[in-house]
Symmetry: C2
Subunit: 226 residues, 2 copies
């Protein structure tokens, strides 16, 4: 079970306040498959960053299987992220001077996986996203959609418990997008909890539960709650 209670995230810029999250409460069991939708600027990435331990809320609580993530210190948060979370960023965040293989290996380096195993797993993940023949190329030598797929491969490298995918098919053509969604669904069948943000109604329709955001709040919640 993963639960957030009355999360707020506020940005202060001089006299101005922006409420990215205005009080979000949500719970879901392991193995869930959620799609988060909503207008631009409604708080989706902000929630994703908090769930992934990449940001802290201004106030509120985040419980991950009874562990209070809100109270972890920086080292604890880094460990939580590396061991349990796979993240596909909206802007990919690949390291431009590393090859695709090295980008996918990186989470495994931090997790202490030894070189032979991590090389094999990175190559395997790149093959799953159709990039086996590109593993020695750098992100600057790839198209937008190819970069997105490297980011997807990297997110899965450490066998995470929770996959947070922020717009994971935005740069992909329809056929490649379907392949990626099929991969996510297979992993969800195997136990991975999947939360994705998407503007694509077809992608959202594939999730078992759809949570809608507006102005930093959840305004709709449809589908299976358990």
């Amino acid at each position: 079970m993963i639960e957030v209670r009355d999360l707020k995230k506020t940005y202060q810029m001089g006299d101005e306040t922006v409420a990215a999250l205005a009080g979000v409460s949500l719970s879901f069991p392991r193995g869930s498959y959620l799609a988060i939708t909503g207008p631009s600027g409604s708080g989706k990435s902000t929630l994703m960053n908090i769930l992934g331990g990449l940001d802290r809320p201004t106030s509120g609580q985040y419980l991950f299987e009874d562990e209070d993530v809100s109270h972890l210190d920086d080292d604890g948060l880094a460990h939580f992220r590396n061991q349990r979370i796979g993240f596909v960023f909206q802007s990919f965040q690949l390291l431009p001077r590393y090859s695709a293989l090295q980008n996918v290996e990186l989470p495994m380096v931090y997790a202490g996986i030894e070189v032979k195993e991590r090389r094999e797993r990175a190559a395997e993940m790149l093959a799953k996203v159709g990039l086996a023949d590109r593993r020695h190329h750098r992100p600057t030598q790839m198209s937008g959609g190819q970069q997105q797929r490297v980011a997807i491969a990297r997110s899965l490298a450490n066998h995470p418990d929770l996959l947070l995918a922020d717009e994971p098919t935005g740069a992909l053509d329809s056929s490649t997008g379907k392949d990626v969604m099929a991969l996510f669904e297979q992993l969800n069948s195997d136990g991975l909890t999947v939360i994705l943000v998407t503007h694509d109604a077809n992608v959202a329709a594939r999730a078992r539960r759809r949570v809608g955001f507006r102005d930093g709040l959840i305004v709709s919640d449809e589908g299976a709650k358990s």
Copy 2:
């Protein structure tokens, strides 16, 4: 009239050759409205970069209203870009330490527009994309979709002849995406030539002509040719 003849773009990496464009020929008159589609890695951004004077082909010709862009030197290419082309990049390419307003002003600075006029025009363009209240914020203080809209505002700042928009709605929710498309169509009615790359079938359907890519070649060309 804009014409490209047998464009090739080849990347050499050690022993490996990647043909991003394998011989593309295309012509279209001023005022056209084209959508370019195709799988990830099929050459769409590569063509867009060449059309926008941001890259050079390995071979082939590019004529923009009888001017041979292929033979311009670097200064000539920079002038061509700044004076005639508006570009929405797939990865936005905003300057992170500049405000939205300053990002939109930048093409006008290069074009020598004086400060009062360019400030007014930048504010006007940001209002057109629904970001009037965010003009003093930096890209790092914005969501993905908000950043995309700043990029769109910037592309229109210099009243270009040709708008090249690479995945201009990928980060936008459906409603905001429709507003942007309506803006492009209004500008096209007023004479702007619009070429956009999109993975979204709904967006492609709004264009008057649809050109399909695969493996660095044009494989389909439907709709109005004039």
